[in-house]
Symmetry: C2
Subunit: 210 residues, 2 copies
């Protein structure tokens, strides 16, 4: 079997070390380097090509979504397996759109990691079962249904709702009419399918919108 070159991109020292131990126990894997954010990853790739990048989503500096997009732009042969702590469908869709071919929870076992690297290296996809269950199945193979996108303004309004401001207060803070805030909020309801404000907050947190 061929040797598969792997790079870890994760800002979290302890997790990187743990992952490197587990990777070293997989015979067909060679750990090429460790990066602590997206920029470092791109610098490493200039000199040392890799087959697979195990990519954390939440990183300071350049996060996993942006790093994946930029990486796939320059090095389309290098595949990305996303790593995440929780089942956040919002991030899931964004990472898939950015080009990730696999998606793993960080609580994964060695066997699952091994299977994922092998699958993605040989052109397939690999997803932790949590994602297969929570995501709509057709999203995984086709990967063309866009995740819901909320605009910048909507996100601003959303954050202020979460902080407990009324529509009137939000309007004052953003120098808008209360009716405009009503409008943004109504659009948020449409896009998310939420019934009311508490439900909207719940949905947004679950899906990584805020």
């Amino acid at each position: 079997m061929e040797i598969i070159g792997v790079i870890i991109a994760d800002d979290h020292l302890i997790f990187r070390k743990g992952l490197s131990i587990v990777l070293n126990e997989i015979p067909f894997v060679k750990l090429i380097a460790e990066a602590s954010d997206g920029n470092e990853l791109l610098n490493i790739l200039k000199k040392r090509p890799a087959d697979i990048v195990l990519m954390d989503i939440n990183m300071p500096g350049m996060d996993g979504i942006e790093a994946t997009k930029k990486m796939k732009d320059k090095y389309p042969e290098t595949e990305v397996i996303a790593l995440t702590m929780h089942e956040e469908i919002g991030y899931f869709n964004k990472m898939i759109e950015a080009g990730a071919k696999g998606f793993l929870l960080k609580k994964i076992t060695k066997d699952q990691l091994e299977a994922a690297i092998k699958a993605v290296f040989y052109g397939e996809t690999f997803f932790s079962e949590e994602f297969v269950l929570s995501a709509k199945p057709n999203k995984i193979p086709t990967q063309n249904k866009p995740s819901i996108e909320i605009s910048e303004r909507e996100k601003e309004v959303l954050k202020l709702i979460a902080k407990g401001y009324s529509n009137q207060e939000i309007a004052e803070k953003l120098f808008l009419s209360k009716r405009t805030v009503d409008g943004h909020k109504a659009r948020l309801f449409e896009k998310t399918g939420a019934k009311n404000a508490p439900n909207l907050i719940m949905y947004s947190l679950k899906n990584g919108l805020i």
Copy 2:
């Protein structure tokens, strides 16, 4: 310097491995064992005493809060440093009440880990700065202000609010008067200090209430 015996209790393989590497690099620390949940930890302690337990909060089977309580009951000499992924103040207070003397984020560096183990072993406390900032300072030294407790009924109502039901709908689901639901909700506002329903959801998720 004395050798400090440490046990890791975490359900997450990769994190355990990473932590063990970092611990092995600290000269005065001896890693005694690794446990993947609270029950395993208690079994290990029967045979092998430890000075410090690095305790994850979210574990299947017996979680970190319960494990800390039971452990401190039988082995009051063994100190607990809690490990968590996020800054969840609700868990923070519960762990402190259970007897934890330190609180670290999992994204910690080796130096911080070293300092935390040393501090707690010598009778002090150690908290990641994120907790010092987010928690009320007087909670840390005195540790006697209870975390907010919400009743069962209040939790039921809270969950239904999060799902997007109106007070009237919640009343029907729970076979109560709408006014009763209003009352529970008002008490939730009092206890949490939330300004309104969206804010209440935000607070509850942040603090592990739901």
